[in-house]
């Protein structure tokens, strides 16, 4: 049967997401937010989610809707700070102990996700050594560098924003939309991409930035 990973709606694509899922969400610097999928996930309403997302508070990402809706138990992120002096909904929940935050240096965050998808259970990195974010972590000096042991992150679902998909699930991004997309697509059991256009015809090989091997479902959302 010919492979075709296109599904009609974001709701279809997320129909089997369960409570307590660990969910990767792409987007950084204002590009690549999977907001159509985030809205659909909100409506689907799974509880006690763990989000793996660069920022818990970026105003352009609908991540904050999931959080404000009380669906999130824990966030793994490099940022949990709201803009402005007032506390954001996330910060209020954090202050009240109603949500957990694991704050991770952004490169370690990316590398832990990449490791999760690459079958590398743990790695040593010099980043974070001697800081509060390495507290309690195993350390070792390797080739003269003081390092911290970091573990891979894997998850149940990745929500990825890309520009074009094809029926095989291949993805191509537009500019800085790429950011965490390739790594997150590899680290989740189920990877769903929202794209501007999903084509019947294959993306030319030299334009494929995430092979369809890593992508399970694609939804065309325009925009």
């Amino acid at each position: 049967m010919p492979i075709d990973k296109r599904v009609a709606t974001a709701a279809d694509a997320l129909r089997d997401v369960r409570d307590e899922a660990t969910v990767f969400i792409t987007g950084f610097g204002g590009a690549g937010f999977a907001n159509v999928l985030l809205r659909a996930l909100c409506e689907h309403g799974p509880k006690d989610l763990t989000l793996v997302v660069n920022s818990a508070t970026h105003p352009a990402s609908l991540t904050h809707e999931l959080i404000a809706a009380g669906l999130v138990r824990k966030v793994i992120a490099s940022s949990g700070r709201g803009r402005g002096a007032e506390l954001s909904p996330f910060e209020l929940l954090l202050r009240d102990g109603r949500i957990e935050l694991e704050c991770v240096p952004q490169g370690t965050f990316a590398e832990r996700i990449r490791a999760g998808g690459a079958g590398i259970p743990a790695f040593f990195t010099p980043v974070g050594f001697g800081t509060d974010l390495a507290r309690g972590k195993e350390t070792r000096t390797i080739a003269g560098r003081d390092c911290v042991l970091e573990e891979a992150i894997t998850g149940d679902l990745a929500l990825v924003r890309a520009d074009i998909a094809d029926r095989y699930g291949n993805l191509a991004f537009r500019h800085a939309q790429m950011n965490f997309g390739p790594a997150m697509a590899t680290a989740a059991s189920l990877t769903v991409a929202e794209v501007r256009e999903a084509h019947e015809a294959p993306i030319p090989p030299e334009r494929v930035q995430v092979p369809g091997v890593f992508v399970d479902r694609v939804v065309a959302v325009g925009g």
Binding site: P105, G107, E111, D146, D163
Partner: protein, 228 residues
């Protein structure tokens, strides 16, 4: 007391030390201003940790490409020869020593090069570490641009940082509104001192021993920015 440098002038001063052909990452805030003040003809690649290699000038209002942004969410352009990689590879580039220099903002720098620039301990505000730890550890050189003292006059150059560290022993050079300072095995060495300012005045504003370099020069900057 002469007029301290303003933000643009500090960024200008740091930009003068960016050499031809360097790959440079600029932090949010004052550092990112350095790209506007490069000496003419200097060919440099600015890397942004979201994977943009060769960040060009900010996009003109009629030329905005919504998905071409830098790590600070600014709409930017791509310079000739630029390209875009994903975050995992971008931080591999950073951590792997392929960035010649990162210029970061900071709260505090210690005489041993320790850097504190991510957590000012504002009550109840969520933490934001971003890529600072990766950049401070990974770049071949870490420079800091910051005001010499806090708003209420306390020194930011210290024997030991009081705020949570970003990385240990990573800062090589600090550009403040009062001086250009190397961080060496012998502690802080002032290479340039605000024109008209005395060494005693600098020492009074510095929280650790600071020694003038042989041939310490006056720090002068052209009129720039709102302070110009």
């Amino acid at each position: 007391m002469p007029q301290p440098l303003n933000r643009d002038q500090m960024a200008w001063r740091a930009a003068q030390d960016i050499a031809d052909g360097m790959v440079v990452n600029l932090g949010i805030g004052i550092p990112v201003l350095a790209s506007d003040h490069l000496p003419a003809g200097r060919d440099v690649f600015f890397q942004s940790e979201n994977g943009v290699i060769g960040v060009g000038p900010a996009a003109a209002p009629d030329g905005i490409e919504p998905d071409l942004v830098d790590a600070g969410s600014r709409k930017v352009t791509l310079r000739p020869g630029g390209s875009i990689i994903d975050s995992a590879w971008s931080f591999a580039m950073i951590r792997g020593g392929h960035i010649d220099v990162t210029i970061l903002g900071a709260f505090e720098v210690a005489a041993n090069g320790d850097l504190a620039n991510w957590d000012a301990r504002v009550p109840d505000k969520g933490p934001l570490v971003g890529g600072a730890m990766d950049l401070a550890v990974g770049a071949k050189a870490t420079w800091v641009i910051m005001e010499h003292t806090t708003r209420d006059g306390r020194p930011r150059l210290l024997e030991a940082c009081t705020l949570p560290l970003t990385a240990v022993r990573c800062v090589q050079r600090v550009y403040t509104d009062l001086a250009v300072i190397d961080v060496t095995a012998d502690g802080f060495i002032a290479r340039e001192l605000l024109a008209g300012m005395s060494l005693e005045a600098l020492r009074a504003r510095t929280g650790a021993a600071i020694t003038p370099a042989p041939g310490c020069r006056p720090l002068v900057a052209p009129a720039l920015g709102h302070g110009g």
